[in-house]
Amino acid sequence: MPIEVNGKTYETDEEGYLANLSEWTPEIGEAMAKEEGTELTDAHWEVINFLREYYEEYQIAPAVRVLTKAIGKKLGKDKGNSKYLYELFPYGPGKQACKYAGLPKPTGCV
């Protein structure tokens, strides 16, 4: 099901992940979130931007355990825990945040 943002259509896979990573813009992330009933705040963007940087460096989306640890290291212990991340992304920080970040589903995520 393709997603339409500002009159432009973008291909996604059957689970709504962006087909072409390089087409991503923050507006696409916002539109995807809105469709799932989430309004993105700065706290969401902190995680989304972190995931994009991680992907840029390692060419994979990290597993939740790895994400949690890395967020804790970068943004502080109060954010590096599952409670905080699941409050932001109740469908799973890996799955949901990666989708809004225009990344593929995390490796090992079913």
Binding site: Y58, I60, P62, A63, K69, T107, G108
Partner: protein
């Protein structure tokens, strides 16, 4: 989890041209989520998988070598490279990716994950494993 097993992934093939190297890496990353004791070995042409400075633009496939640097985050920090395989290919450890991990038990000191071992030493390491998967 109380039932922790020693898993070893043996990589023998060049990184591109077949899917083995990428499949192995994916399985390692997925398996690491189950908190088993994971090691990897690079033997024969498998040593090319962790070569520095890979460039795949001409062959039109994704260069996944940066992903090996994430292994430390996944607590995969026992990476054995066979000495003889390096020598036969005119390579040294300096030609390989600089793979590191942070040691939780040593105040998060950064340490090298790669260990070059002789074929005899590697045989002994393989002997100690409970599960050996060959790619």
């Amino acid at each position: 989890m109380s039932d922790i097993k020693k898993f070893m992934y043996v990589n023998r093939k060049a990184p591109y041209g077949t899917i083995y190297a990428w499949e192995s890496l994916e399985v390692v990353l997925i398996g690491a989520a189950f908190e088993q004791e994971v090691s990897m070995a690079f033997v024969d042409d498998g040593v090319y998988q962790i070569l520095k400075g890979q460039d795949t633009t001409e062959i039109g496939v994704k260069n996944f070598s940066p992903t090996y640097s994430a292994l430390g985050d996944y607590d995969v920090n026992k990476i054995y490279v066979e000495k003889e395989s390096l020598e036969e290919r005119g390579l040294t450890v300096d030609d390989l990716l600089d793979l590191k991990y942070e040691d939780e038990d040593d105040d998060w000191a950064e340490k090298d994950s790669i260990k070059v071992v002789t074929s005899k030493e590697l045989a002994e390491i393989l002997e100690q494993q409970e599960v050996v998967l060959s790619f």
